[in-house]
């Protein structure tokens, strides 16, 4: 069969039981990159925009915005968003390095996944402790 005649899609096994999927570490970094990106889009982006608007309006408006975010629930959301930003940032840099063929072998790819997960969690804990 020539390349033109061959069907583009092949029958491949589909196994999408979310509870039973065991992702390798690079896969975990990848799906968390997607989840953190979505969280930043739906929650982080509007929240930061309102914050920027309040802060540029006046010092009083910004203080009111800050005290509205001083509740424990808001702080948990903020820490979650900070982690999302940090993970998205670190995992993104890892993907950029993979694009230029840095660390694409199995071992370094696994190691960089651990580094990404660890650094973003550690920085989020540091910022979270200060915020709390």
């Amino acid at each position: 069969m020539s390349a033109l005649e061959r069907p583009v899609t092949k029958q491949r096994p589909v196994y999408l039981n979310l509870v039973r999927i065991r992702l390798p570490l690079p896969g975990l970094v990848s799906i968390l990159h997607r989840l953190s990106g979505a969280a930043l889009f739906f929650v982080g982006l509007p929240l930061v925009l309102v914050g920027v608007a309040r802060s540029l309006a006046s010092a009083e408006a910004f203080d009111a915005f800050r005290s509205a975010l001083a509740t424990p629930f808001a702080k948990i959301v903020l820490i979650g968003l900070i982690w999302a930003y940090l993970h998205h940032f670190c995992a993104g840099i890892r993907f950029l390095l993979l694009d230029v063929h840095q660390g694409i072998e199995l071992k370094p790819a696994r190691r960089s996944s651990v580094v990404v997960l660890f650094i973003s969690l550690a920085l989020a804990v540091l910022v979270g402790v200060r915020l709390w």
Partner: protein
């Protein structure tokens, strides 16, 4: 390995590249903020106001936001394409996403250059 003949259609190369270039712009802007905070020993309200009074800083800030909004579009489009299979639903949600991001851009222009 499936060998496709990659001609005559958009295969997402532009979006792939946009995602990376806009990411680098955002990294640079993040580093700019870290440098300012480190150099000034923190950011208080007076410094915040002074920064946004500076024309070059406002341009850099707007470039960052445009990069972020474009980046968000490519990323959210990837997500919608993966999970929303009915075409009508996907097109509706994609349109809403674009409109939201454009509204954010207009809002930011007004915040940065509009009357205070």
């Amino acid at each position: 390995m499936v060998k496709r003949i990659v001609v005559g259609a958009h295969y997402g190369l532009k979006d792939w590249l946009v995602q990376r270039v806009t990411a680098l712009v955002m990294v640079l802007y993040t580093l700019l903020w870290l440098a300012i905070a480190w150099y000034k020993g923190g950011v208080d309200y007076a410094l915040w106001q002074a920064l946004f009074a500076n024309g070059a800083f406002r341009v850099a800030t707007m470039l960052f936001w445009l990069a972020l909004l474009w980046h968000a579009w490519v990323g959210m489009r990837d997500i919608w394409m993966d999970y929303l299979k009915p075409t009508a639903l996907r097109l509706t949600v994609e349109t809403l996403t674009v409109l939201t991001l454009l509204a954010y851009a207009v809002w930011l222009l007004d915040l940065l250059w509009g009357p205070r």
